[in-house]
């Protein structure tokens, strides 16, 4: 006879209500775990969509996702002919905040050569960029529709396609534009800044005696061309020939071209271990604290339920019930409470997960792990009640 189930059946309302309350707490634990997982997945979506085996970045930097990296755009041409390289393409990444439809909109602008490496994955709707300028592919989470236009910097862009779940590590929706558009957005100076620069160069050349005016004009034009150039990329992504040794290619590039080369695994590690490390640790710690709180709450509930049954436990012990009968009664109740709470939590999260501003991802393995954790919590939490129950003197069954 399962005493735990019979007790639950008799006190069903109270038990369900307790399970519901605990379920809300478990739902928070699950959402934290889901956000944690979502954070890791979101951090790598753009990286994964790029489909690169190697990332060439500014020397001694950790790449465009971790810190500022600037390299010449045309570097990709020389990289493309290195043995073992199948394809190379420049890419740029930039966070922007614009006003759109009367509300602020944060975007993660990805500049790429349309049709080349470093772009988006399969589209959810619409088409890829077909023109060299002023077309964009936006992530659906940006809330933009196909055909909608958006002002970025000095220009307007038309959304021609939509991606699904392509966001930056900060959760900002991605906006894919051509590299030329992204370069203009990121590097092109304003007219005022260009005029100021020109005056500064001319002023410094005026101080140089014996400089022919024609030569001064030539120098000014050259310096301007260099400082105002937008032919800069944040990285060049490389796809290797099948079977090529990535480390060998990386060594060759680093030796000859004086740039840092990151393998896909290193780049992924930077994204998941360093870029989102603090957020990840914060969520992990918060989840751990919630689990401890859940344990304490379950322990208190089970302890209270045990105290309520002291006389029954004493009676069972007096009529000869082995300790195991009492242990099972308490532990099974604790596990049943955990099961109800887990079901409530899972139901809640599955009905609400798409309403979270950040992605909430719970894989089947996460569910199993959480289930095991909840079961572990329940077993642990029941120990206090079990200890109390085992200490009950059968004599307590006697008397008034």
């Amino acid at each position: 006879m399962n005493l735990a189930i019979r007790d639950i059946r008799y006190n069903l309302g109270r038990f369900l209500l307790t399970g519901l309350g605990l379920g809300l707490l478990i739902a928070v634990v699950m959402s934290m775990a889901g956000i944690y997982r979502g954070l890791v997945i979101e951090a790598t979506t753009i990286f994964n969509a790029a489909g690169a085996d190697l990332w060439v970045v500014q020397k001694d930097t950790r790449g465009p996702f971790a810190e500022s990296s600037r390299i010449p755009e045309d570097l990709y041409r020389t990289l493309a002919v290195i043995p073992g390289v199948q394809e190379a393409a420049p890419v740029s990444y930039q966070n922007v905040q614009v006003e759109h439809a009367g509300r602020p909109l944060r975007l993660y602008v990805v500049g790429h050569r349309p049709g080349g490496l470093g772009g988006h994955g399969p589209l959810a709707a619409g088409r890829a960029i077909g023109q060299k300028r002023y077309e964009a592919v936006a992530d659906r989470s940006a809330g933009l529709g196909i055909g909608e236009s958006l002002e970025l910097g000095r220009n307007r862009y038309t959304v021609v396609g939509l991606t699904r779940e392509m966001v930056s590590s900060g959760g900002d929706p991605a906006l894919f534009v051509s590299l030329a558009d992204a370069q203009e957005l990121q590097f092109k100076k304003s007219n005022e800044a260009i005029r100021n620069d020109r005056e500064r160069i001319e002023a410094s050349l005026r101080g140089v005696t014996r400089l022919a005016p024609a030569l001064a004009q030539r120098i000014t034009a050259t310096v301007e061309a260099i400082t105002q150039s937008t032919h800069i990329a944040n990285a060049v992504v490389i796809r290797l020939v099948p079977g090529a040794d990535g480390r060998d290619v990386a060594r060759r590039i680093e030796a000859w071209k004086h740039h840092t080369v990151l393998t896909a695994a290193e780049q992924e590690q930077i994204l998941t271990r360093f870029v989102i490390e603090k957020a990840r640790r914060q969520l992990g710690l918060f989840t751990a604290i919630l689990l401890v709180i859940s344990t304490v709450i379950v322990a208190l509930i089970i302890y209270t339920l045990t105290i309520d049954k002291i006389r029954e436990i004493a009676t069972l012990k007096l009529i000869g019930a082995p300790g195991l009968v009492v242990v099972k009664l308490i532990m099974q109740q604790s596990l049943a409470l955990g099961a109800i709470a887990f079901a409530v939590g899972a139901l809640l999260i599955h009905s609400l997960y798409d309403r979270f501003p950040r992605r909430v991802v719970l894989l089947p393995a996460d569910h199993l792990a959480l289930m095991a954790i909840v079961a572990g919590i329940c077993v642990l939490a029941s120990l206090l009640g079990i200890r109390r129950a085992l200490a009950v003197d059968p004599l307590q069954a006697l008397g008034g």
């Binding site: 006879m1 007790d7 069972l316 007096l318 004599l395």
Partner: protein
């Protein structure tokens, strides 16, 4: 072989100047089918004696045998006391002590269950006992939904579940009115006669001991046993 035998049973609470004697040098042999009442005023030691015989309270000295098996001889000896309580002793309490979240049938079944009797055998036994005590129509009810007298009959059924050799009843009529109390006592007398169990009933109500084979009177921890049947 007697159902229970205890000799020189003494229980002292505390020690030194604060020592309180619960029972002192109590001796009795209880035969199978015998109905014995232990009476005495509150605090006289009758419940202590009952719990010592029931292997719940550890005496200070003396000897206890259940079904010819020595269980206590100045210390606990021999077999597992819980097992003896499960198989050979049935307890009936002042406040019935039914488990509120079990139905009447389940309250009886739980005693069988913890003794390893399950399934059809247990169900048949429960049916028989509830029928015997005329509460089979309440089998599916919870204790809170039945009367005090019915609850006590369920408690008796539970005590009888494992065909105990010895039934120990602690003030089984204390929470009942006179009519229901008499009915419960009649059931105890019946089961001593029909089932052959030795029944020891602790009570402070001398009106309830009519028809008992012997009466033990406890006073200041001393047990004085009357060898004669008490007149109705």
């Amino acid at each position: 072989m007697p159902a229970a035998r205890f000799e020189g049973l003494t229980k002292v609470y505390g020690s030194g100047d604060t020592a309180v004697i619960g029972i002192q040098d109590a001796t009795m042999v209880v035969e199978r089918g015998e109905l014995v009442a232990i009476i005495g005023p509150s605090g006289s030691g009758k419940s202590t004696l009952l719990t010592a015989i029931g292997l719940v309270t550890e005496p200070t000295s003396g000897r206890i045998e259940i079904d010819g098996e020595a269980v206590y001889d100045d210390r606990w000896i021999g077999p597992d006391r819980k097992r003896i309580r499960r198989r050979k002793i049935g307890f009936i309490f002042q406040h019935h002590n039914l488990i509120p979240f079990l139905t009447v049938a389940e309250n009886v079944q739980v005693a069988l269950d913890i003794n390893g009797v399950h399934g059809r055998a247990a169900a048949a036994k429960v049916r028989d006992l509830l029928g015997y005590l005329q509460i089979d129509h309440r089998a599916a009810s919870y204790p809170a939904r039945i009367s005090g007298g019915e609850r006590q009959r369920v408690a008796i059924a539970r005590a009888l579940a494992n065909d105990p050799l010895l039934i120990l009843a602690d003030e089984p009529t204390a929470s009942l009115d006179t009519e229901r109390g008499k009915s419960v006592m009649e059931h105890l007398r019946r089961l001593a006669r029909e089932k052959g169990s030795a029944v020891i009933v602790v009570t402070h109500d001398e009106r309830m001991i009519a028809g008992f084979d012997r009466v033990g009177r406890v006073q200041d921890g001393r047990l004085l046993v009357s060898p004669v049947e008490v007149a109705a």
